[in-house]
């Protein structure tokens, strides 16, 4: 990352316009000595970023140029045709809508149930409390494949197969325990005084929960909700197994099974798939960068403290 280093040097130079030659020489020497370090960072950065660049470049490259050698590293005639094609079928918008409905509902339900449970587990001492906590923790690493068959038959019995309800129902298994766990750790960190003050004023436990605890734990709700949403948005196994019709697909399933508008069976429409990838990924990247602090707080509560 020589650019970061350069920018750093430039900023320093600006801050202190007149630098004595010896000091500058020392700084240059230090920079040279750290060169392998910066090269390593540059390498990591390249490995991390190049696949994204490639998806973007492929999305903007016309189909004809995509399937031609030698490979163009920068599209010579960039085009929006791939984006137009992807959006023209309506299939992809439908998937976006489905994913939003499923992930949104799952998040709200998990937060509603999870915050109550988190309050009980984080603020009260009772018999079986730690057993419940362990149950929730072990559930967060529960292998979803292990109950695929049973869920499959249950979902069919309730006639939920090929409905979004099947996904909302089954996604509880990986969102709820996690939400409970994160919210419990947030609830536990709150000071006792406020709660006691509410009790002294004659509030019931439920009133205390809604009026006092919930507003205080808002950052925890954002964190847990965000993680639940991302997990539900990205889920693939159940979405693939419990739906069948094209108009019930979520984004991951749609992108995997995408055949394109032209429907040529022998050639995978990579340009359109990459366009779809870019459309889905950009908002996720922006959201992650903006909310990174909240996400990190949740991840460390879920993993490291455990």
């Amino acid at each position: 990352m020589s650019t970061v280093a350069e920018r750093a040097l430039r900023a320093e130079a600006k801050a202190r316009p007149r630098v004595r030659p010896r000091a500058r020489r020392r700084r240059v020497r230090r920079f040279v000595r750290r060169l392998p370090f910066y090269a390593l960072i540059a390498l990591i950065f390249f490995y991390a970023v190049f696949p994204f660049y490639w998806a973007i470049r492929s999305a903007f490259t016309p189909e004809g140029d995509l399937f031609r050698t030698p490979v163009q590293y920068v599209p010579t005639d960039p085009t929006l045709a791939n984006f137009r094609e992807v959006l023209s079928t309506g299939e992809f918008q439908r998937a976006l809508l489905n994913s939003t409905i499923v992930a949104g509902t799952v998040t709200l339900v998990a937060l509603a149930i999870g915050s109550l449970a988190g309050y009980a587990l984080g603020r009260f001492r009772f018999h079986g409390r730690s057993a419940t906590l362990y149950l929730m923790l072990s559930m967060t690493t529960f292998p979803q494949i292990a109950i695929l068959g049973a869920l499959y038959t249950t979902i069919n019995r309730f006639e939920l197969y090929d409905r979004l309800g099947a996904l909302i129902f089954s996604y509880m298994i990986f969102t709820l325990p996690f939400t409970v766990w994160v919210l419990t750790s947030f609830m536990r960190a709150l000071p006792r005084d406020l709660e006691e003050a509410a009790y002294v004023d004659g509030a019931s436990p439920l009133q205390t929960f809604y009026r006092v605890m919930l507003p205080l734990v808002a950052p925890g709700l954002v964190t847990a909700g965000l993680l639940a949403f991302i997990a539900a948005w990205n889920e693939f196994l159940y979405a693939l197994s419990f739906t069948q019709s094209t108009d019930k697909r979520t984004v991951p399933v749609a992108i995997t099974l995408f055949t394109g508008k032209s429907g040529s069976t022998y050639q995978i429409p990579w340009g359109q798939i990459m366009a779809a990838t870019v459309i889905v990924t950009l908002p996720l990247i922006v959201a992650t960068l903006v909310l990174q602090r909240r996400i990190l707080a949740g991840l460390t509560a879920g993993a490291v403290k455990g």
Binding site: P143, I145, A146, T154, N156, S241
Partner: protein, 280 residues
């Protein structure tokens, strides 16, 4: 009372299905009712499973994948965590960027890489040929000798940043005075890493390894995108899903599920025992 909804949901979506899976594994239940009435078949499914070479291959593929990815993710993640923790300008940006691969759906990263791996029009073959590392294009995905590595590279790309973040969280708890004292005593950075960093990081390392191992053992998404249900490169989860959903053999699928559950449980026991031994 307040716990009731949460416990009810967990019971409904996890515990009841788990019990049902165990029950189904002793039956010959088929998805399409009417082909054959469901009846109790005892241990037949498990006996078949023991002689099922396809399942055996799937176990081998899954374990290989797990060992390779967890090892690489841990070593690379450690390097990245140390670099980021060492404090340089743009560290905050780096940490935010590291979250990105984790946040995007696995199948999307798999698609991005599948296209880069394309044997004729893929950038990987083109780039490596230009750099004279390979002489002719390689069919990375269809060729059995490279298929597993190709798929592992995607998982490593996607998950290493996450591992690095977990380790970084552990690193930041280590008090800086320890290193200052070591510097004063003239201990080399290399020794500091082995004597201070690693021992203090051990809890974070173990938790990270457990999480990653359990995740890798149930891998499904990447393999599905890359190979569908190609027999020589299917994981336990792919085989199970195919048996239940495509073939509709719920009884046998349930037996596979139980086997997967036990295999994963075995790894957990190994890790936990290891942790206990370390603590004493």
């Amino acid at each position: 009372m307040m716990l009731a909804p949460a416990l009810a949901v967990v019971a409904l979506v996890a515990i009841y299905p788990l019990g049902q899976t165990i029950y189904q594994s002793f039956t010959n239940q088929q998805f399409l009712a009417g082909i054959e009435p469901t009846r109790f078949v005892g241990l037949d499914n498990y006996r078949d499973l023991l002689h099922d070479t396809v399942f055996r291959d799937a176990v081998v593929v899954t374990v290989k994948f797990t060992v390779v990815t967890v090892l690489f993710e841990f070593v690379l993640g450690m390097i990245i965590a140390l670099v980021v923790n060492s404090g340089f300008r743009g560290r905050g940006v780096m940490r935010a960027v590291m979250l990105v691969p984790w946040a995007i759906p696995t199948v999307i990263s798999a698609q991005m890489w599948k296209w880069m791996y394309d044997d004729v029009f893929g950038v990987l073959n083109d780039g490596l040929t230009r750099l004279h590392i390979i002489d002719e294009p390689v069919a990375w995905i269809s060729q059995p000798s490279t298929a597993l590595w190709a798929v592992a590279a995607v998982d490593i790309w996607k998950t290493t940043p996450f591992v690095a973040l977990l380790l970084l969280a552990g690193l930041q708890v280590i008090p800086g005075e320890l290193y200052e004292a070591a510097d004063v005593d003239g201990v080399s950075k290399w020794h500091q890493f082995w004597r201070i960093t690693l021992p203090l990081l051990k809890p974070a390392i173990l938790v990270t390894l457990i999480f990653r191992t359990l995740d890798a053992l149930r891998v499904f998404d990447i393999f599905y995108v890359f190979f569908g249900s190609r027999v020589d490169t299917q994981t336990m989860a792919i085989y199970d899903q195919n048996t239940i959903v495509s073939i509709g053999d719920v009884g046998y699928g349930a037996a596979i599920s139980v086997a997967i559950f036990l295999i994963i449980g075995m790894f957990v026991v190994i890790y936990v025992t290891f942790m206990r031994v370390e603590q004493q």
